[in-house]
């Protein structure tokens, strides 16, 4: 299989404005994501998962190392990658449809065509009939669907998802996980998914990459060898629990080391 996304020895260092100390946030991150693969990154909070995603998106320049998408080195945002943001981050003064159009506008797609393409994805994420609603009229889960549609409409090679369900309540989150799998299977995208929830990572992914905390390092790759399509029942499967335990202990060890030092 050809890797769609490769990160090679990515380091990110930044200067703390108050103390002037240099802080290493990401330490030689190397990983690759294959075409059509769903990969999650889990790790304790503060391990630099979101920072890494920003580097992949091109919003933050890596101090050293490189990000390669489809064989080409990237250093700024491009239409080959689209982000589903942590908070829905919708433009509150735009309707659902016009929010979904936003990225298309940015790359110069004509309004009429953008609308038409956006409408297809509004339907895909199940918001048919809400295209003229404003974000404040939607629930948190619905806002995240718009957020997802806004990224999918760009037809990116890689979808970057930054803890998109973290702010949702437990029921909505599980429901959205199932929905995401349905949409993912339909859209057939390569996904890099950030989360701090172990069960979410296992349920969604082909592979889970565990980060260690401060500085962020790749600690282990865990392959999720469970057939698709998956349903929420899987969360009660013994294989699921075994994986959960394994990842949990990896993160827990790390947290203990952190606490002692």
């Amino acid at each position: 299989m050809t890797p769609k996304l490769v990160a090679k020895d990515v380091c990110l260092e930044y200067r703390q404005p108050r103390t002037g100390d240099r802080l290493l946030a990401l330490d030689r991150i190397s990983l690759s994501v294959n075409e059509g693969e769903f990969v999650s990154i889990v790790g304790p909070s503060g391990c630099g998962k979101t920072t890494f995603l920003s580097v992949v998106d091109g919003l933050l320049p890596a101090t050293s190392g490189e990000i390669i998408v489809d064989g080409l080195r990237v250093n700024k945002p491009g239409p080959d990658r689209a982000v589903v943001f942590q908070d829905a981050s919708l433009l509150p003064w735009r309707t659902v449809l016009r929010n979904v159009c936003y990225g298309l506008e940015c790359i110069g797609v004509r309004a009429a065509e953008a609308r038409e393409r956006a409408m297809k994805f509004v339907q895909m994420v199940g918001l048919d009939g809400f295209e003229n609603s404003y974000p404040y009229e939607l629930s948190g889960g619905m806002q995240q669907r718009v957020n997802l549609a806004r990224a999918l409409v760009m037809d990116p090679k890689i979808l970057l998802m930054d803890e998109p369900f973290a702010a949702l309540d437990a029921q909505t989150r599980e429901y959205m996980q199932e929905e995401l799998l349905r949409i993912w299977e339909q859209a057939n995208k390569t996904v890099l998914f950030i989360t701090h929830q172990i069960d979410e990572a296992i349920f969604l992914s082909d592979r889970v990459i565990v980060f260690s905390a401060r500085p962020g390092r790749v600690r282990e790759h865990v392959t999720v060898d469970i057939e698709r399509p998956r349903s929420l029942k899987l969360k009660r499967d013994p294989r699921f629990h075994a994986l959960e335990d394994r990842i949990w202990s990896l993160i827990h060890d790390d947290a203990l080391v952190q606490a002692r030092s």
């Binding site: 700024k76 689209a82 943001f85 981050s89 433009l91 003064w93 936003y102 990225g103 506008e105 940015c106």
Partner: protein, 282 residues
């Protein structure tokens, strides 16, 4: 079939009813002082000292006096129109220039940190000074004509407009700016789609402040070598104890100010359709 009771109608129009009643009461009080109603009414109670409640119209005029004088000046002699035209022209040019200069300046300073470091010292210093103190300088530089008065109005108005536009950019949700850069939006597109819509209410409230300050500009600037204008008309009427006329001038300024602030409110409402109404469930 409309089944609203009188009580319902009163509750729905509470703001209008209470406001109008208070204003009417104020007018009656005023008229009463001017005509000695209160003095006569309270004389049995207060005796001699009740006389203090009758105030000579030369000091306070009266609502009917002002109304009569307005009718004369607007409809019969028409003498007020040149004043309004003169002051209005200065206002439009001065305030318009302040908007055209202040908004982009403030937006740029809010967006580009380095530029704000350049602008900040001037803005803070100017804001801390009473701008009318510059008047004698302006008179020395460009005389006492139309442009001097435009300049002082401009100076008074440009400060709140610039400062509000600057602050407005700083309140833009950084997450939305991140969305824009992630989608590769150009700087211009970011301004148009993210910064402008979220800054608009702040910019408009800066303009509302500027309207009030331009009115100060008009009255003060016309003290210097002006023959026509609402400001100088008020001044000359005051000097000759023509109190009715003073109040007519003040009334014109009040109404012009109200019209402009209401106009700005209307613009704000026009662009605010997306905001949840107060009391709406989020």
């Amino acid at each position: 079939m409309n089944s609203r009771s009188i009580a319902d109608i009163c509750r729905d129009n509470e703001r209008l009813i209470i406001g109008a009643s208070a204003f009417a009461a104020f007018l009656v009080m005023w008229e009463g002082f001017s005509r000695g109603w209160w003095a006569t009414l309270l004389a049995p109670l207060l005796g001699e000292s009740a006389r203090a409640l009758a105030i000579k119209p030369i000091f306070i005029s009266s609502p009917t006096g002002v109304a009569q004088q307005s009718w004369t000046m607007f409809a019969i002699t028409g003498e007020i129109w040149p004043h309004i035209a003169q002051s209005g022209g200065q206002l439009v040019v001065g305030l318009g220039a302040a908007i055209v200069v202040g908004v982009p300046l403030g937006l740029a300073a809010g967006r580009y940190r380095t530029f704000s470091y350049i602008l900040d010292p001037f803005l803070s210093a100017l804001n801390a000074t009473p701008q009318v103190a510059f008047l004698p300088l302006f008179v020395m530089w460009i005389g006492t004509g139309f442009w001097m008065r435009v300049l002082i109005i401009f100076l008074l108005a440009v400060i709140p407009i610039t400062m509000n536009a600057l602050a407005a950019v700083r309140t833009v949700d950084p997450r939305l700016l991140k969305v824009a850069s992630s989608f590769g939006a150009t700087e211009l597109h970011t301004f148009r789609t993210i910064i402008a819509p979220s800054a608009l209410p702040f910019i408009l409230s800066g303009m509302r402040l500027a309207v009030g300050r331009s009115m100060i500009g008009i009255v003060v600037a016309e003290l210097y070598g002006s023959a026509t204008g609402i400001g100088i008309m008020i001044n000359m009427a005051g000097a000759s104890f023509d109190t009715d006329k003073v109040f007519v001038g003040v009334l014109v300024i009040v109404i012009a100010g109200l019209l402009m602030t209401e106009g700005l409110r209307a613009i704000e409402r026009r662009f605010d359709g997306w905001r949840p109404a107060i009391g709406d469930n989020m």
